[in-house]
């Protein structure tokens, strides 16, 4: 699948934003109203940036409002509705906090739950696609949720400005968990091919009972939408390099920085560096998520 920048930003930024909302809703972070301002602003920024990025993916963003209509069947629609609902509930929570100083835990819990469901809905946009066998696993929502949790916690610990609080530790734990889930996801992905999802060239054409099937000529000598969008080909060497970067910046560097921060150097710079690094790593992870995913239609276009 084509790793569109809009989608990389959408999933990473909105994931972190909803993670932040969830941790905040659960009562983490300082309670001062100044912090309420900051926290709400950053959460809003991340979520809005993520959603705007996703709107960049639309060819007719003027019609984006229609995406609220099909919540009964469409995960993308649900995601939109849930994102709006989460934002509304969290907005209410933040306003009350800002103006009264009170953090209403029940409302916060609702916001946190909604956040989680929203991230789940986002992940289900991909998970539901039988056409992309790598994505079609419950591990995908787990990965999205875990990274949202880790990212949110990291952001929160940055916002806390180096104060020692459980959130940095939570961030570390969430990060480790997220990568454990991701490694499991990769393990499965390596075993998952188009053929294992019933989309080999033989099954795609139904000609397998005659013999092995390979492409002779494509319908067109140039490119087309399908090829660009769904038959993105990534060189194995390049994929391996990006994987290393993802693990290095997404996991190792932030984990070490967090460990240092938690153990002996509560410098506010460390969580910031950890977050920046993690975010860079996560972009690599998402790039791979898309770039390495083979779509069933590739079977029709398949190189021999």
């Amino acid at each position: 699948m084509h790793p569109a920048v809009s989608l990389l930003l959408f999933t990473t930024l909105s994931g972190a934003g909803f993670g932040l909302i969830a941790w905040t809703g659960l009562g983490f972070g300082p309670t001062g109203t100044w912090f309420a301002w900051l926290d709400a602003f950053v959460a809003g920024l991340l979520v809005t940036a993520g959603l705007s990025a996703s709107a960049m993916h639309l060819r007719r963003p003027d019609r984006a409002w229609r995406a609220f209509s099909q919540w009964r069947s469409s995960w993308l629609s649900r995601e939109a509705v849930l994102a709006a609902a989460t934002s509304a509930v969290f907005g209410a929570y933040a306003l009350i906090w800002i103006f009264t100083g009170a953090r209403l835990l029940p409302l916060g819990i609702i916001a946190a739950l909604l956040s989680a469901i929203t991230v789940y809905a986002t992940s289900m946009i991909y998970t539901q696609l039988r056409t992309v066998p790598r994505w079609a696993t419950p591990l995908t929502p787990a990965v999205f949720l875990a990274f949202a949790a880790a990212g949110g916690a990291l952001v929160l610990s940055v916002l806390e400005g180096g104060r020692s609080s459980p959130i940095a530790a939570i961030a570390l734990v969430a990060l480790v968990l997220a990568w454990i889930v991701k490694v499991a996801w990769w393990q499965r992905a390596m075993k998952t091919t188009r053929a294992s999802a019933g989309a080999s060239p033989e099954q795609a054409t139904g000609l397998g009972n005659i013999g092995a099937v390979s492409r002779f000529e494509l319908p067109h000598t140039g490119s087309n939408y399908l090829l660009r969008e769904m038959v993105f080909q990534v060189a194995r060497r390049r994929a391996r390099a990006v994987t290393r970067l993802a693990v290095l910046f997404g996991a190792l560097v932030p984990a070490v920085l967090l460990l240092i921060f938690l153990s002996f150097a509560p410098s506010p710079a460390l969580p910031v560096l950890a977050l920046v690094s993690h975010f860079a790593g996560l972009l690599c992870e998402r790039w791979l998520f898309f770039a390495e995913a083979e779509h069933a239609v590739g079977a029709y276009y398949g190189a021999r």
Partner: protein
């Protein structure tokens, strides 16, 4: 309630979300497609755009049309994009830069026609043969040939010589009709079908419709072709033959049929010259000619009376296996016996030819048996009495339901004429021509070889030629040569180089003219043929010849006039360009005098008419030619008072008469109630328009089969004006005209070939079809060039002119060279690699792709995808110019030198057919691939700019 609808409104049922009955057209006009020579009927949907201008919006097949019955191919549908092409010329062009540069200025029609008249007029009054007028695949040869004849130049032909004259000539000489589109398998009745060397062919929609009929009836289809694409892919059996060896394969089939007695003796006795006696007197001038009586009648030996009788004796039954002494004491043998001796020779047995053909001997034997069993065990009987030309009544029509078709895979080899004759022999031995279930002719065919004109070349200043240019020679006496044995025609057609050149040799015109061999030309006038590109061999060389200058700096070919509708490669090499309209903007006539659209059961012809007005200053070429004829004062083009006879082509179509009562169109003559023959009808074209653009009349039931011998058909054909008197004839298994040339080569007769030609004539002109190795292969070290390289027509592209088509070029924007897996493995080639392909003449560097479903010695590519930079209004980075290529660069118009200083044309030695597919090559991996295919032939400027960056033509009415 859904969120996207205003509250209170009921959700609409899904039907209401769209209008299921939108308007489809303001008007539907019926005319004829021109995107290839198949000439299907089309319905052109016209709609008004926002300004109220009529525009073409959709083209579909005409359901009532005899050719395509409603279907349309990719090119036909994409015709709309050809009509809207940015490469369309806008106005006449006069060259301003050097030839090939593409620098022109636009001029008025009046100026253009005055210039042309001046150039042509000078030639005509000085030496008319210094005009070479050659036309491409147009369908107005009856007009263009007549024009050339009235002009007085012998140098006229259409493209048939480089296309498929081998098929036309072999068919006419053997059975009075040919494959090509002049006949067709009896799709409704045949029970086994074999197709040789066909990718698309002219009759491409009818062939596809026919194949689907066969599939519906479960009829076995055998495809004989080195490549298993297209028709061969759907065939039930694929015979992956090695190029150039079909003759061997077919003769082995004949060997098997004769060996097992699986031939139709009655058919041979009645309808062929199998029983005719051939003089057996080696070393004499009559050896191998037919024995004749004093009245010139051919003879047979009658089994009943045991006497020699004229072959048209109704009561006689010819003996086939005998040797007789003629009254004058000479020995003679029936054709059949010679045939049996020839083909039963063990050298023709399947085991002996298998390796060379790349076909298993068992397969050959099995196919022979399948043919025989289908022909004889599954005989068809149609309860339809008929009477033959000798007055014998037949109660039924017996069918041998096997049928064959063949095209350029056979003809584009230098042994193609004889190979095609071998296929006809096979058909005839099985009794499967013009019978139910066999191969059937389409009117105006059948027509015996001697009913065709002879070629003429008698010319003098300011006078018409002494007769038609093209025709069928019956012996050396009909050749167009002078006392020094020099060719009279620029292309050397009907010379010793190509005696049976029924369609001329368009592919030799430029190189002969530049070499002044036999003489130079002053004006080269071309119409609708991309001679500077894909329709020439040695393309780079031809481009150089067109720009070659003499010691005074003058072009060696001084003047080039060209008519094209688009900015093709050849446009850039012309001095004066006459821009044609598109096919939707002009009159045309698909005539019985040329290549009509008949079917075996019916006679049909058709027109085109301007369904839309041109939006630019272009003119139908035929109208421009008629105007030129009048300006030149050519006989027939002006009346006695010197005014133009015909206003334009439409006027000519309705009012011209070739013979009294016979004109370009057969339908609605006279008052509109006579067909075939009748006085001219000024309203004829309107009648055609009203009838959907075509005319069709059915052949009476009794006359539908056995046409060459069927009295009812012969009478009907005379009535329709196809002949002036009945012309029944017998199939010529043994061809006497060929033997006459052989005798000449042996030294008999007063017209003698030059010494160097004797051997080749003696070898190739066998009166019974024989196989000889393709000439290029025979002249080369085949170890050095072990592979064959050929091209195929892609279904969705027409020669070079499809590349300007925004849709078709998405399908074929570039062409790889397909390489058999085994060859690729040994050359270390993977998909996407580039390779050098090397022939005796040149080398090209091209992208390759591996393939399994192909003969192991054959490389191939799609034809004519490669383009010159700047042509066709394409942008300079067009893939056609970067990764597309022409195989033509590797093909020389001359054979490799033999050491005697002479170079023969790379053509069939009998007909002059261009031997495109004889090409031998080797392949080497290119270690440092260039970024564009090699050779790079430079860039031409586009006189019409380049096409737009985006396209959505339906916007006006959606």
């Amino acid at each position: 309630m859904s969120l996207d609808e205003p509250p209170g409104q009921q959700p609409a049922p899904s039907t209401a979300r769209l209008d299921p009955s939108p308007k489809v057209a303001d008007e539907i006009a019926k005319t004829t497609c021109y995107m290839c020579a198949c000439r299907c009927g089309i319905d052109v949907f016209l709609r008004k755009d926002a300004d109220g201008t009529k525009k073409v919006s959709y083209i579909q097949g005409n359901r009532d049309h005899p050719k395509n019955r409603g279907v349309l191919c990719a090119k036909g549908s994409a015709g709309i994009m050809q009509h809207y092409s940015p490469a369309r010329l806008r106005k006449p062009l006069l060259r301003t830069g050097p030839r090939g540069s593409g620098e022109f200025k636009e001029i008025s029609w009046d100026e253009a026609l005055s210039i042309a008249t001046k150039w042509l007029g000078e030639v005509r009054s000085r030496d008319p043969k210094r005009l070479a007028f050659f036309t491409g695949r147009d369908q107005s040869q009856s007009l263009t040939s007549w024009w050339a004849q009235q002009f007085g130049t012998p140098n006229y032909a259409a493209h048939g010589g480089f296309c498929s004259v081998n098929m036309a000539a072999a068919g006419i000489y053997t059975m009075g009709g040919a494959f090509w589109e002049f006949g067709t398998p009896d799709w409704e009745r045949t029970k086994m079908f074999m197709i040789f060397g066909v990718a698309e062919d002219h009759d491409s929609n009818p062939i596809k419709l026919g194949l689907s009929r066969l599939k519906e009836r479960g009829v076995k289809i055998v495809g004989v072709n080195p490549v298993r694409t297209g028709y061969n892919a759907v065939a039930d059996e694929w015979v992956g033959i090695t190029p150039g060896t079909d003759g061997l394969f077919v003769i082995a089939l004949i060997h098997e049929l004769l060996r097992t007695g699986s031939v139709d003796i009655a058919y041979l006795a009645r309808y062929t010259n199998a029983g005719w006696l051939v003089i057996d007197a080696p070393g004499t001038a009559e050896n191998g000619l037919f024995a004749r009586d004093e009245e010139g009648r051919t003879l047979i030996f009658d089994r009943k009376s045991h006497t020699v009788r004229p072959s048209d004796d109704v009561d006689a039954v010819p003996e086939f296996d005998t040797e007789v002494e003629l009254p004058d004491g000479r020995k003679a043998r029936p054709v059949f016996r010679i045939m049996a001796e020839t083909y039963l020779d063990p050298a023709n047995a399947p085991d002996r030819v298998a390796k060379r053909c790349g076909i298993d001997a068992g397969t050959i034997r099995r196919l022979a048996a399948e043919l025989a069993s289908t022909a004889f065990e599954e005989e068809i009987v149609v309860e339809q009495p008929w009477t033959d030309w000798l007055g014998r009544r037949h109660e039924t029509m017996i069918g041998r339901p096997v049928s064959f078709h063949a095209m350029r895979g056979i003809s584009a080899h230098s042994n193609g004429f004889q190979t095609c004759r071998a296929i006809h022999l096979l058909q005839i031995l099985l009794g499967s021509v013009e019978c139910p279930g066999g191969f059937r002719f389409k009117p105006p065919y059948p027509k015996p070889v001697d009913a065709h004109p002879k070629p003429h070349a008698g010319c003098k200043p300011d006078s018409p030629l002494d007769g038609p240019h093209l025709g069928y020679v019956l012996g050396p006496e009909d050749l167009l040569i002078d006392e020094e044995n020099q060719a009279l025609r620029i292309d050397k057609a009907y010379s010793w180089d190509a005696p049976l050149a029924a369609h001329g040799l368009m592919h030799m015109v430029i190189s002969n003219a530049v070499a002044a061999d036999p003489y130079p030309v002053d004006v080269l006038f071309l119409y609708m043929a991309n001679m500077a590109w894909n329709s020439s061999m040695n393309t780079g060389g031809v481009m150089e010849m067109l720009t070659r200058t003499d010691e005074n700096g003058e072009y060696v070919i001084p003047k080039i006039i060209y008519s094209d509708a688009y900015s093709s490669e050849t446009v850039a090499f012309a001095d004066l360009v006459l821009p044609d309209t598109t096919y939707l903007e002009r009159h045309d006539c698909i005539s019985l005098l040329d290549r009509p659209i008949s079917e075996p059961d019916s006679l049909a012809d058709a027109i085109r008419w301007p369904v839309i007005e041109p939006d630019r200053d272009v003119r139908g070429f035929q109208s421009a030619l008629i105007d030129l004829g009048a300006r030149l004062g050519l006989p027939g083009f002006v009346t006695e008072d010197g005014t133009a006879t015909y206003r334009d082509y439409a006027d000519y179509i309705a009012n011209h008469e070739r013979r009294p009562g016979v004109g370009p169109l057969a339908g609605w003559r006279g008052n509109g109630d006579s067909h075939g023959r009748g006085p001219a009808n000024p309203e004829q074209v309107d009648r055609y328009r009203e009838n959907g653009g075509f005319f069709e009349t059915h052949i009476p039931e009794e006359a539908q089969f056995f046409k060459p011998w069927n009295a009812a058909y012969q009478d009907w054909a005379v009535e329709m004006g196809l002949y002036d008197k009945p012309a029944p004839y017998l199939f010529q298994l043994y061809s006497e005209p060929l033997q006459k040339f052989r005798l000449a080569a042996e030294g008999f007769g007063d017209r003698q070939p030059p010494e160097h030609a004797r051997e080749r004539i003696a070898t190739c002109f066998t009166p019974l079809p024989q196989w000889y190795a393709p000439l290029e292969e025979a002249a080369l070290d085949t170890d050095e060039f072990p592979l064959h390289a050929i091209t195929q027509r892609p279904a969705a592209m027409y020669h070079s002119w499809g590349s300007q088509n925004a849709w078709l070029r998405q399908i074929h924007g570039e062409n790889p060279l397909y390489v058999p897996e085994s060859v690729a493995d040994s050359a270390g080639l993977a998909d996407g690699d580039w390779a050098w392909v090397i022939s005796h003449h040149g080398r090209i560097c091209v992208p390759i792709r591996r393939m399994a479903a192909v003969n192991g010695k054959t490389l191939w590519t799609w034809n004519a995808i490669g383009k010159r930079k700047g042509a066709w209004a394409l942008q300079p980075d067009a893939p056609e110019a970067k990764r597309g290529f022409l195989l033509n660069h590797l093909i020389h118009e001359l054979l490799p030198p033999k050491g005697d200083g002479l170079r023969w044309s790379n053509s069939d030695p009998i007909t002059g057919q261009a031997a495109w597919f004889d090409l031998r090559v080797r392949i080497e991996k290119a270690d440092a691939p260039p970024d564009v295919s090699q050779p790079d032939t430079g860039t031409q400027k586009s006189p019409v700019g380049t096409g737009p960056d985006a396209l959505a033509y339906g916007k006006a009415w959606t």
